[in-house]
């Protein structure tokens, strides 16, 4: 083979692998992506049953119910709308009423959100960014969420 032919083989196989990779990605993007939605989005955009989404907001205070077995029910709110959520399993360590949460799953026909994954904050002073943005949009963001992270009455200076 000449140098030119070898280069052609090389470039040809590189393009081939890339094409396969792009095909795989496009295929995967169709089936495995979850859009983030706040409860208001769910209502406003008429997200239908079966569509996989990430529902984010605050766990409504007083809404947490432990049903029989490991079934857990609570409501996610952004101050305007609420969506009932059910989840089978053990909740993450930092799951609390009145605090931020992201649930991934699908809506069923009755309008209840069937979560198969629950993410809560990793830290007492930290809230998922999607939830922060959603709360800011719905006008229910309180500055105290941010201030909680700062010092009580001491100022930091050099």
């Amino acid at each position: 083979m000449t140098r030119k032919q070898r280069r052609l083989v090389l470039i040809g196989s590189a393009v081939g692998v890339l094409a396969v990779a792009v095909a795989l990605m496009l295929n995967a993007f169709r089936g495995s992506i979850a859009f983030f939605a706040s409860p208001t989005d769910v209502v406003a955009k008429h997200i239908g049953p079966g569509t996989r989404i990430r529902l984010g907001g605050l766990v409504k205070t007083g809404s947490l119910v432990r049903a029989d077995g490991l079934r857990i029910r609570f409501e996610v709110t952004d101050g305007k709308s609420e969506i009932p959520v059910q989840y089978d399993g053990v909740l993450p360590d930092l799951f609390r009423e009145g605090q931020g949460v992201v649930a991934e799953g699908t809506l069923d026909r009755s309008g209840t959100f069937d979560a198969d994954m629950i993410l809560a904050k990793h830290d007492a002073t930290y809230m998922p960014k999607e939830v922060v943005d959603a709360l800011k949009r719905s006008g229910h963001w309180k500055d105290e969420y941010e201030q909680r992270a700062s010092l009580p009455n001491t100022g930091a200076n050099k």
Binding site: L10, V17, L24, S32, R66, V90, P128, K129, A156
Partner: protein
């Protein structure tokens, strides 16, 4: 006093870095030996100053000096000393200090051990290294100063994030940073070569040990992080395709590709331009990982604090270094002469195949990680790209790579013999087929693809053994002769075999856990029990236990196999009053390389306890494989030709007579 000393040393280090970043490079351009020779003392001074700053910060933590804001925020007098030490880097500011410390440590190593480097190359490389150091020192000083004081010091600190109060913190970040930052050396060498417009096989020989060190540390760092999240987060998962994990996986993939292409360059002077590009990419991806993790654009356990000015600053560093390096590459790379020719079927060809698939896989991970960010920035639409995406793209790309892996080392340079290699791999392939059949036979309800995964894993492992068997001719020669051949083999050949074997081991663990792991969620009353795999786990009761800065609510469980008592498990809920946080401390019981994994939730009012019980078959293989890879890397590193910088004596390469007739 101590914090101010550290702060001052940090500022001085920035000054030295600016000198080190200009004078030697100017010297290299004008061929001024005096200016070039400034690089070494400057790199050493830089290291000394940063060491002072880092030790000063450590001292503040050890003595619990809460007048330092950073210490107040992340430490507490009740924490054991080991966590007070590790919390130095268990926060944003301190972790950046660790980053810079490792960076200048590597710079000092180049300065000390680079005696046989050409003067201009060394001056340029250390100069580039200094620019990176200067950028990060400036970043720390302007946006993330760990030495800030509080006017009215409080009596007690706020404690470290409980998730980080774990021995894993002592190990995972430093290892990961050694890996990330190790690639800065190869980056600097690549830029130095571009500045000079000259590159040869010797360059690859100088660079390869650094690639190896970085790759080894990154391998262990990723594996360590994976094991940490496995036992600490209480979900029993070892890999979540979390963007932060991806941020460490991408440099690993690029680094693995670099490791292999550097071999081609060293042996055959081919793929020069490509190797330089990979060296730039590996470090660029490391930088991007730092940006993604530290800027707060991602939500993760690693995002310590979200301060927009930091994100913008790191983004600036990113743009300058990656953009600058790639522009320089576009401008200067055509100057680098093309190297040796090779046929597509050859050792070089196999390594190109490896590079092609690794880089493509890396690109899919990159797109999957950045796409949600780009979409959010452009359309405000928020999406998450989760495990299904990566399973559907990364997996199929890795399968051909795994199948091809055993062939590579069996091919000759320049022109290989695919049929011959296939014949020699026949035994390995048959073993793989047997394993696959066995997996099919014993499988109960697992995914259909799992036996194929087992088959591929066994093929990779057996292929690595085949390579050594063929090289030592242990099956054809008397044992004594084979043993002397084994000793005579270059250590890098053993290293290759071990690392490849490790990949197979890891794959075996991943496949068996994913396919045959079982999970049991239940609410369990006192005296109740759960059966899983061949084990019976019985709940005996709850007890309370106090730690130094936490309270444990411990569930006491006994484990039986048949009628035989094999041990107790004590998972707990750990509450940290200073932060008002709780963590799940899972209990693990190893049975061979399989594990029982038990974690508990908060007890219900009626006294029952929600539990998660997993059986993880062969799970430890995942991390054991990483140890094999590390060991293989270490063997390669000790290879004579890497220790001795001088060109290798013209010794005959490992011969495989009789089987490979000259074509």
């Amino acid at each position: 006093m101590i914090p101010e000393l550290g702060h001052y040393a940090l500022i001085l280090a920035l000054g030295v870095a600016l000198v080190q970043g200009t004078m030697p490079i100017v010297g290299a351009r004008s061929n001024d030996r005096l200016l070039m020779s400034m690089a070494v003392p400057a790199a050493l001074a830089q290291f000394a100053l940063i060491a002072i700053a880092f030790l000063a910060l450590t001292e503040c933590y050890v003595t619990s000096d809460f007048s330092v804001f950073n210490v107040y925020e992340n430490s507490n007098t009740t924490m054991p000393l080991i966590y007070r030490l590790t919390s130095v880097w268990g926060n944003h500011e301190g972790s950046m200090m660790l980053w810079v410390s490792i960076l200048v440590f590597f710079g000092a190593l180049v300065a000390i051990f680079g005696g046989n480097l050409p003067m201009a190359l060394k001056a340029n490389a250390l100069g580039v290294q200094a620019w990176i150091a200067a950028a990060f020192e400036l970043f720390i000083l302007t946006t993330s100063n760990p030495f800030l004081r509080i006017a009215n010091p409080p009596f007690e600190g706020r404690d470290l994030n409980p998730i980080l109060q774990d021995p894993g913190l002592a190990f995972h970040p430093p290892m990961l940073y050694l890996g990330y930052v190790g690639f800065s050396i190869t980056f600097s060498f690549a830029i130095a070569a571009l500045l000079e417009g000259r590159i040869d096989a010797a360059w690859a020989r100088w660079v390869r040990p650094w690639v190896l060190v970085a790759w080894m540390c990154l391998t262990l760092g990723i594996a360590g992080g994976s094991y940490w999240s496995y036992y600490e987060l209480g979900w029993g998962g070892f890999w979540f395709w979390d963007p932060v994990e991806n941020a460490s996986l991408m440099p690993w993939l690029a680094g693995t590709a670099l490791l292999h292409s550097a071999v081609v360059m060293e042996k055959r002077e081919a793929l020069k331009v490509w190797t330089v590009l990979l060296a730039i990419l590996a470090f660029s991806l490391s930088l991007m990982g730092t940006f993604l993790v530290r800027s707060g654009v991602l939500t993760s356990v690693h995002a310590f604090a979200t301060d927009p000015s930091r994100g913008v600053f790191i983004l600036g560093i990113l743009i300058v270094f990656i953009g600058g390096a790639l522009s320089l590459y576009a401008w200067r790379a055509p100057l680098l002469k093309q190297g040796g020719l090779f046929a597509p079927i050859s050792r070089e060809g196999a390594l190109v195949f490896n590079n092609l698939f690794l880089v493509t896989a890396c690109a899919t991970v990159l797109i999957g990680t950045l796409y949600p960010l780009a979409l959010d920035a452009l359309t405000k639409e928020k999406i998450s790209v989760g495990p299904p995406f990566f399973d559907a793209t990364f997996g199929p790309l890795f399968i051909p790579l795994m199948i091809a892996m055993p062939f590579g080392p069996l091919m000759g340079w320049k022109r290989g013999d695919l049929v011959g290699a296939a014949q020699r791999l026949l035994a390995a392939a048959m073993l793989a087929a047997v394993a696959m059949a066995a997996a099919f036979a014993v499988e109960r309800g697992g995914p259909v693809l799992a036996p194929f995964g087992i088959g591929i894993a066994v093929f990779v492992m057996a292929g690595a053994v085949t390579d050594i068997v063929e090289r030592t001719m242990v099956l054809r020669l008397p044992l004594r002769a084979a043993a002397s051949r084994a000793i005579g083999l270059p250590r890098s050949a053993w290293g290759t075999a071990f690392a490849h074997f490790g990949i197979g081991v890891t794959l075996l663990g991943i496949v068996s856990v994913t396919a045959w792991g079982s999970e049991h969620l239940a609410e369990i009353k006192r005296g109740g029990s759960i059966d899983i795999a061949k084990y019976r786990v019985t709940f005996d009761g709850i007890l309370n236990r106090n730690g130094s800065n936490y309270q444990d609510l411990v569930g006491h469980f006994t484990v039986h196999r048949g009628t035989e008592l094999i041990g107790t498990m004590e998972p707990s809920r750990r509450t940290f009053p200073d932060r008002g946080m709780a963590t799940t401390e899972a209990a693990l019981m190893s049975r061979g390389v399989s594990q029982l994994y038990l974690s508990i939730g908060d007890p219900n009012k009626d006294g029952s306890l929600p539990v998660r019980l997993y059986f993880k078959p062969y799970v430890l293989l995942i991390w054991l494989g990483a140890l094999f890879m590390f060991f293989g890397g270490a063997l390669s590193l000790s290879d004579r030709r890497l220790r001795v910088g001088a060109p290798r004596p013209a010794k005959a390469r490992p011969v495989k007579p009789a089987l490979q007739p000259a074509e």
